[in-house]
């Protein structure tokens, strides 16, 4: 079936502008995660959604970052007043954590490369 998709694949924006990054998880996956990967670095957790539970926002680096997940499916990560240090690849992942489909591993999308000039 279809994997996790993200759009856009690349985004170049000017400092101070707002950006929205989109993630479409695998159909039926109850959990959705956002990570950030700076050039040559590891993965930095940002936020995750699990079913109807309150999202875990503990990884968001500042109040300029926010995310929502509508209808338990598509998620949008919004960065307001972008700064140059926001330049990174933003990765989305989903997983199936409930019932017989539980497998625990996360499936990643191709990422959105954000460049703030």
């Amino acid at each position: 079936g279809a994997g996790v998709s993200q759009s856009p694949s690349n985004k170049v924006t000017e400092k101070g502008k707002d950006v929205e990054l989109r993630c479409d998880p695998i159909s039926g996956h109850t959990a959705l995660y956002w990570y950030r990967q700076s050039l040559g670095q590891g993965l930095e957790f940002l936020i995750y959604f699990q079913g109807n539970s309150a999202p875990d926002k503990s990884g968001l680096p500042s109040d300029r970052f926010s995310a929502e997940r509508t209808g338990g499916s598509v998620s949008t990560l919004t960065i307001q007043r972008t700064q140059q240090e926001d330049s990174a690849v933003y990765l989305c992942a989903s997983s199936s954590l409930r019932g017989r489909g539980s497998s625990y591993e996360q499936y990643f999308g191709p990422g959105t490369r954000l460049t703030v000039t």
């Binding site: 995750y48 996360q106 999308g109």
Partner: protein, 118 residues
């Protein structure tokens, strides 16, 4: 919080030689451990996981990993490396938010760059 460490930033091996990528973990309770690979300009791909059962776990592309509780390690191995195995490898551990075993995120190591020379 749970964490993993990858002590080597880079691993270089010749094609055909054994490949080992090291990972140690620090968790409370039973560890759920994972390995992912990232090829250049690509997203992360799942390789294998340890949840319970046999300590030797087999995964994709001929990779395997050995869970060692006494040494708190989960090293990734491949008996005979290929040039195409050159990539960035990440170890990860389940990091529970609360008591629900299904409510968690993954905490990743810093990654190890593997270069296999012909």
């Amino acid at each position: 919080a749970q964490s993993v460490a990858q002590p080597e930033d880079q691993v270089n091996v010749a094609e055909g030689n054994p490949l080992t990528v090291k990972c140690t973990y620090s968790v409370s309770g039973n560890p759920y451990l994972f390995w992912y690979v990232q090829y250049p300009n690509r997203g992360l791909q799942f390789l294998l996981k340890y949840i319970t059962g046999d300590n030797l776990v087999k995964g994709s592309y001929g990779f395997e990993a050995e869970f060692n509780k006494s040494q708190t390690s989960f090293h990734l191995k491949k008996p005979s490396a290929l040039v195409s195995d050159s990539a960035l490898y990440f170890c990860a551990v389940r990091d529970l938010r609360g008591r629900d075993s299904n409510d968690y995120k993954l905490s990743f190591g810093a990654g190890t760059t593997v270069t296999v020379r012909a």
